[in-house]
């Protein structure tokens, strides 16, 4: 599959909606962590650093999907994986040790504050990249 075709496949169909939701979370996470770090960083440094990490990961995943090149899709896979590990780890940890998270992050309680979308999004992202991978449609069907 040529690069323009790959880009088209990544960005069209369900990918269009997926990228929209990723962009939304990139915006939300960036804004949230900017406010947290900018105004009261000392209140919960760990949680806020995780917020910032989440924001960076969402931005990288969004850009990776939008560009839709072979290399950028690989970057998107890594960031989706980091995201999945992050939301599961932070979700479990915030459930077991609420005291460590006096203030919420996007990933707290498996993203409950965001309708659990943060938990579902990386899975959908990984599935989508796999489905649009060169040759996937021919071998999978």
């Amino acid at each position: 599959m040529s690069e323009p075709t790959l880009r088209e496949a990544t960005r069209s169909g369900p990918g269009r909606l997926l990228i929209a939701v990723y962009a939304l979370f990139a915006l939300a996470a960036c804004a949230r962590s900017a406010v947290q770090i900018g105004t009261h960083f000392e209140r919960a440094p760990t949680a806020y650093l995780l917020s910032a990490l989440a924001a960076v990961v969402y931005v990288v995943a969004t850009v990776g999907l939008v560009r839709g090149s072979r290399a950028s899709r690989r970057v998107a896979v890594v960031s989706c994986a980091v995201e999945l590990v992050g939301v599961v780890a932070v979700g479990a940890f915030s459930l077991l040790h609420p005291a460590a998270f006096p203030d919420a992050t996007v990933w707290s309680l498996f993203g409950r504050g965001y309708g659990f979308v943060p938990l579902v999004l990386p899975v959908l992202g990984l599935l989508w990249i796999r489905r649009t991978a060169p040759g996937a449609t021919r071998t999978a069907q």
Partner: protein, 128 residues
């Protein structure tokens, strides 16, 4: 906040989300050049205009209030919500499939959610 303007815009946004859902079902992207396309985009522009008025009034209120309001968060929501619809329309119309139209549903729902949060920040409800 702002004399019910936020609540009105909220219902407006939810109505537009519903309209977008209908467009998804009918598989009819609101393309400029078609009467129904112009109607949708026109009403959506009206919503954006309402959000702009809300931003101006809200920022003025923020400057004038002596209550404790998380100013930066509040201003962020006021201005941030303005970005959603233009980006959603651009991203939606460049793909004329059901998925493309669904982006408009997400955009309109996002406006509604951001407006709810905006009202919460103004009244000082919990959350950051």
């Amino acid at each position: 906040m702002v004399d019910g303007l936020t609540t009105t815009l909220n219902w407006f946004a939810l109505g537009m989300a519903l309209w977008s859902v209908v467009l998804v079902i009918l598989l009819r992207p609101p393309l400029p050049g078609r009467p129904d396309g112009w109607a949708f985009l026109g009403v959506l522009a009206l919503l954006e205009l309402g959000l702009l008025v809300q931003a101006v009034v809200g920022l003025a209120r923020l400057a004038g209030t002596d209550r404790e309001v998380e100013g930066l968060t509040f201003a962020g929501y006021l201005v941030g919500v303005l970005l959603v619809l233009p980006i959603a329309v651009f991203w939606s119309l460049t793909e004329r499939t059901r998925w493309g139209v669904a982006v408009l549903v997400v955009g309109c729902l996002t406006v509604a959610v951001l407006n709810v949060r905006l009202a919460q920040v103004w009244t000082g409800a919990a959350g950051v």
